[in-house]
């Protein structure tokens, strides 16, 4: 069928009923109606912007110490106060966004890629391949996520690969999070592929002589992309949280570098007398996670309105 014919049909239908739009346009329309999602989406964009231009935005260098202004509360010069070495907390928070967001988003995409490929192979071939692949994945699944991450951090921590401590911690956290993250994506993709591969259009493509890879890539993936994107939106906040866990218990990034987990750890130690030090990184994590969760909810409803209210 030629491209123009379908477009014509589409415009015709749109002009009469106004409902025959592609799944994506439809989803976009529904998403725009959901106020919480729109606000969250904007918030996420702002956070990404802050993370990207952290070095330009921060009012003071994140590791600049000022011994004359130690542990001060919020003021006009230091909006969020200063820590025990006189470093500006707002600058550290902004600089910390770099680490937290980068790790969270990058890891989500990598686990998406690995999980999608693994799950698609497993689901598409089925039978013995599927059984073996799923069994070996179950082994990873039976170790609690944080224990697995800690093991990876221990192993990676003793390998001398990088001179830059920031890069080293980032790679370590990234590896630890990816090893845990791809499993759930692989399960989801496998389940979806198992469902979709029985569809008639797949059979039709097969009958027309399309290659296996072509079918999976061109016919199956576009149809299961919705749930995958939704999973992705829920993985990012989980990653933000795990990064902060790891840094909080002292396994991730170390001071003077900054991530939200590092700040939380530092704030925790002076909770008794200087609670402002833990409240602001805590709130930063909370708002980011809330935004991603709300956005994910909206996205899920937008892709599948039947699921609304879940």
């Amino acid at each position: 069928m030629s491209q123009s014919a379908t477009t014509d049909q589409k415009t015709m239908l749109t002009s009469t009923s106004g409902k025959a739009e592609s799944l994506w346009a439809d989803a976009w329309k529904r998403l725009k109606k959901n106020k919480a999602s729109v606000v969250s989406g904007i918030f996420i964009l702002i956070m990404c912007f802050i993370a990207l231009f952290a070095k330009q935005i921060q009012p003071y260098p994140f590791d600049k110490q000022d011994i004359t202004q130690i542990l001060e509360g919020p003021s006009a010069t230091h909006w969020l106060g200063t820590d025990n070495l006189g470093r500006d907390l707002l600058s550290r928070l902004i600089y910390g966004a770099r680490m937290s967001m980068a790790v969270a988003i990058f890891t989500a995409f990598v686990s998406l890629f690995i999980g999608a490929v693994y799950g698609a192979i497993s689901g598409w071939f089925g039978g013995k391949v599927d059984a073996i692949m799923m069994r070996s994945m179950d082994i990873l699944y039976s170790i609690p996520a944080l224990v697995l991450m800690i093991l990876v951090m221990v192993a990676f921590g003793s390998v001398e690969l990088f001179d830059n401590p920031e890069l080293k911690a980032m790679t370590g956290i990234f590896l630890a999070l990816s090893i845990v993250g791809w499993v759930s994506v692989a399960r989801l993709v496998r389940g979806q592929v198992l469902q979709v591969k029985e569809m008639q259009y797949v059979e039709a493509a097969f009958a027309m002589g399309a290659s296996q890879f072509g079918i999976v890539w061109k016919h199956i993936f576009p149809n299961i992309l919705g749930p995958i994107i939704v999973t992705l939106t829920f993985q990012i906040p989980a990653n933000v949280l795990f990064e902060s866990f790891l840094s909080f218990i002292g396994l991730g990034l170390q001071p003077p570098f900054s991530s939200w987990g590092v700040l939380a750890n530092e704030g925790w130690r002076s909770l008794r007398n200087y609670p402002h030090l833990i409240i602001s990184p805590g709130l930063a994590i909370f708002m980011t996670m809330l935004a991603f969760n709300l956005f994910g909810d909206g996205l899920r409803d937008a892709f599948d309105p039947k699921l609304k209210n879940r």
Partner: protein
């Protein structure tokens, strides 16, 4: 008759668990509490056995058991190799040890034997329940350390899950019942915030309010039931929110289903429909999430134990990582995995009892 044994074993298990909680919270010690613990364990085992035999699940359970065994074996091997091949041993202190002493120390922990022999020793020890000697706590075996730390972690996790169900389910039901009113909106706003709040922030705020400002609750340690309150609340918040949201959506689904319409049409009373038909059916998906929830609570308990200085396994794991106490890391990893695998099996079995539509095979 078919139903009787389920009801009886269920009642015995629930009853003895309640008694255990009672003993624990009112700090009874001695013969009776430990006897009750055994009663609940044994009755649970007997009930499970009867169930497995009667429902023809023997093959299924044997299969799962075998899978669990293989999984544990693989995890043990992988962790063992991972930790042995790491550069930098636990005895690399700042001060170099004299070679003779170092050789002695290594001989004590079998570190100078060939790898395959070390591995054989390790696995045969595992089968006997011997996890080796701790590197850090000289003279204490890993099994001993873990046995000492286990009660605190289990209690913390158990109570967190308990309050999650006790608070989360009614919250979700009420929200669904008052669908699209301010009650619903408030409950769901609370639930979504509960999922997004990081543990240490919740812990910090609770400590600031109850321990430092009002001075009514202890801020740390694990000595009496009053010490339980803050850590359990902090750990329970996320599960409460997850359960509340799930219960709500599940109740909303069930309310709209045909059999509920039938129940109304038959002229059944509101109470009967709500409790017997709606609630029972909508709790099935809630039960199915308990597996992931247990894993969630396990991960969460690490941070909680560090924050509240609870002398449990999570804190030991964090410390053993910093101490490079490899036997302890290995032992804790294995134990956590065993608990998770076992919990998932129990959840799957429970699931098949509660929902006869599900057939395990």
């Amino acid at each position: 008759m078919r139903k009787n044994y389920k009801v009886i074993t269920g009642a015995v298990i629930v009853g003895s668990i309640l008694l255990n909680i009672f003993f624990d919270l009112f700090e009874f010690e001695g013969f009776l509490p430990s006897a009750m613990l055994y009663v609940s364990l044994i009755s649970g085992a007997i009930g499970a056995t009867i169930l497995i035999v009667k429902e023809n699940l023997l093959v299924y359970v044997a299969k799962r058991g075998f899978e669990a065994f293989v999984t544990m074996f693989v995890i043990a091997t992988a962790t063992f190799l991972l930790l042995r091949f790491l550069p930098g041993g636990p005895f690399d202190t700042e001060k170099a040890l004299p070679p003779e002493i170092k050789a002695n120390v290594e001989a004590k922990y079998n570190l100078n034997a060939p790898l395959i022999e070390q591995y054989g020793l390790y696995i045969s020890g595992l089968l006997r329940g011997d996890l080796g000697q701790s590197y850090k706590y000289i003279g204490r075996s890993v099994t001993e350390i873990i046995a000492q730390a286990m009660p605190a972690t289990f209690k913390l996790g158990f109570y967190a899950l308990l309050i999650a169900f006790i608070i989360g389910v009614p919250l979700g039901v009420i929200a669904a019942y008052k669908h699209n009113t301010w009650v619903d909106n408030l409950a769901m706003a609370g639930a979504i915030s509960g999922v997004a709040l990081p543990n240490f922030l919740v812990g910090a705020i609770l400590i600031l309010i109850f321990a430092l400002y009002f001075r009514v609750l202890p801020a740390a340690l694990w000595e009496s039931p009053t010490h339980y309150i803050l850590p359990v609340l902090t750990l329970g918040l996320r599960p409460i929110s997850i359960i509340a949201r799930l219960t709500r959506s599940s109740v909303l689904d069930v309310i709209r289903s045909d059999y509920i319409r039938t129940a109304w049409a038959k002229g059944l009373g509101e109470k009967v429909v709500l409790f017997k038909h709606v609630l029972r059916n909508s709790l099935i998906p809630v039960l199915s999430i308990s597996g992931p929830l247990i894993a969630n609570v396990m991960s969460g308990s690490f941070v909680i134990e560090v924050i509240f200085a609870v002398p449990g396994m999570g804190r030991h794991l964090v410390q053993s990582v910093n101490n490079r106490d490899y036997p302890l890391i290995l032992g804790l990893t294995l134990l956590y995995s065993v608990v998770l695998i076992f919990a998932n099996l129990i959840v799957d079995l429970l699931y098949s009892i509660v929902d006869p539509r599900i057939k395990l095979a």
